[in-house]
Amino acid sequence: MLFPTIEFAVFFALVFPVTWLLNDHNTAKKWFLVAVSYVFYAFWRADFTLILLTSSVVNFALALLIGRCRERPARLALLWLGVAFNLGVLAAFKYYNFFAASAMNLASVLGLRLDLPFFEVGLPIAISFLTFHALSYIIDVYRRKLEPTRSLVDILLYISFFPHLIAGPIVRATAFLEQTVRRADPKDIRLGMSVFLIVGGLFKKVIVANYLATDFVDGVFRNPDEYSRLDLLLGMYAYAIEIYCDFSAYVDIAIGVANLLGYRFPQNFNQPYRALSVQDFWRRWHMTLSAWLRDYLYFPLGGSRGGTLATYRNILITMGLGGLWHGANLTFVIWGLLHGAALVVERMLGLTGEGGRHRLPALAAWLITFHFVCLAWVFFRAPTFDVAQAYLGTLIAGGTATGTSVTPLVAVMLVVGMLTQVVPNDWLERLEDFYDRASIAVKVAVPSAVISLVAVASPGGVPPFIYFQF
C-alpha cells in the first residue's frame, strides 16, 4: 500500500478513529496497531509477514535473555547470536545471490570452478529497515541503555508500526518504547505540522519526483550515450532532486501520519543540498541512518579512538557497508566508498566545518560538496557499473548528441525541487503556526486545495518510492 493512494486514505480513515477510541486501553490499542500494520504490509506479500513476526519474537526473547544474564561473556554471546540472526535473515534474502555471484567470479579469476545455486525468492520489502530496528533494540539492551520490555506487543509494534515500516525514519527503540508504555496525549498532535508534512510530501512525490523520473532521469540513465553532455549534467542534478523529493516525501508523510496517531518520529532531512561539506551532508541527509551507522557500526569499530589511520579505516568501512546496505550491487558499494573517501579527505584537509570554520569560502565549499554528491548519485542510480562508467565517460568526453531534451515541465520541476533546499525552515513554521490558529474552514480548505492541485497535475499512476527496494 503506497501512501499517495486512495487505498491508504481509506485505510487511514479507518485506523485513525479506532486508534484514538482505544487510547484509554493502551494494550488493546497496540494490538490493533500491530494488526493493521500487518494488513498494511500484507498488501505487498502476505507470506512475508511471517518474517516480521519471526524477527519480532526472536528479538523479544533474545533481549529478555540478555537482560537476565549477569555475566558479560554470556550477554555478549547472546548479542552475537541476535546480530547473526538479524544479519543472517537480511543476507539470505538480500545478499545471497550477490555474494554467490561474487564468489563464483572470484573463483573463476583464480582459475577455480565453483558452482553455487541461486534463489529467486524475491526481496521482502522493508527488510533493511526491519533489521535496523531490531538491531537497535537488542544492542541497546546489551549496552544497558534500555531495559528489555516484557510486553511482546511493544516489540511487535516497534518492528511493524506501519508509518515507519517500509522506509523509515529509523526510530530508536529507546525513543519508540517510551511512547508505547502510556496512552498517547491528543495535545501532542501538531495538526499544522502533520498537514503540511503530508500535503508537502504528496506534492514532492507525486509531482516533482515522478515527472523528473519519468520525463527525464529514467531516460538518461537508460542510454546515457544517446544524450548530450548538458543533458547528462542536468540528469545528475535532476536525480539528486528526484531522490530527495521521493525519499523525504515518504518520511514526511510517515512523520505526519504517526503524529496524527499520537506518536513522535525523528526528523530525517534538513535541506541536504545546502551542505558545505560531505560531513555536513550526512548531518542533513537520512539523519537517522547517519546516527545509526555512527552508534552501531562506526563507534564499535573504534571510531576515532585508535589514531588517524584507524579512524580513516573505520570511516571507509562504515560508509562502504552503508552503501552495501542500500542494495546488493557493486554500484552501491562504490557510492558508499566515494562518500567515505570524501569524509577522509575532508578530515585530512580540515574541511569538515567542525568548530564553525571552513578553509574554503562558503560558495566554493557548497559548489564542491553539491557536485560531489551529485556525481556520487550517478553510481547510486545507474543499474550497473558499466552504465555509470558510460554516463561519466560521455559526460566528460561528450557524445554525439547536442542540445537538451529537458522539457519545460522538467525545467519547472528542477527549479521547484531546488526551492525546497533554499526556503528558510522558519517560513514553514510560520505557515504552520498560521494554520494552527486559522478557522476550521481554512484548516479543511488548505489540504483540500493542495491535494486537488496535486491531482490536477498528477501522472496516471504513482510508482513505488525509491527507498522501498532497500
Binding site: 480513515a13 495538526l191 498537514v195 547517519s290 494552527d436 492541485l453 491531482a455 497535475a457
Partner: protein, 103 residues
C-alpha cells in the same frame, strides 16, 4: 580562511524525539477528525473521477460492484452540483500546457 555564519550542524539525539513545532489545538481530536474527514469528503466530490477509477481497478465481484456503484453515485452528485468543474478545467489546462495525455 572565512568564518561560517552558523555553527556546524550536529545530529539530533536519537534517543529522545522532541514534540514537533506548532501549538496544540483546543480540541485536538475533534479538530483533527474534522480536518481529515471533511478533506476526504471535499476531495471525493471535487475529484470524483479518481474514486471511480480506483473502484474499477478491483477484481469484479459483488463488493467491487457495490463500491463502483457508490463511487458513481458520488460522481453523479458532483457533476449535478458542478463540483467537479474546477478539477476538470484545471486538468484540461495542465494537459494542454504540458502536451500530456490522460491514460
Amino acid at each position: 580562511m572565512r568564518k561560517r555564519k552558523e555553527p556546524a550542524l550536529s545530529l539530533p539525539d536519537p534517543d529522545h524525539i522532541p514534540l514537533g513545532p506548532g501549538r496544540p489545538q483546543m480540541r485536538p481530536l475533534r479538530t483533527a477528525s474534522v480536518v481529515i474527514y471533511a478533506t476526504l469528503l471535499v476531495l471525493a466530490l471535487a475529484v470524483p473521477r479518481g474514486l471511480v477509477n480506483w473502484a474499477k481497478n478491483f477484481e469484479p465481484n459483488p463488493a467491487q460492484a457495490a463500491l463502483l456503484h457508490a463511487a458513481e453515485a458520488v460522481q453523479s452528485l458532483s457533476q449535478r452540483l458542478r463540483l467537479d468543474r474546477p478539477y476538470a478545467r484545471g486538468r484540461a489546462l495542465f494537459l494542454r500546457l504540458t502536451g500530456k495525455r490522460d491514460d
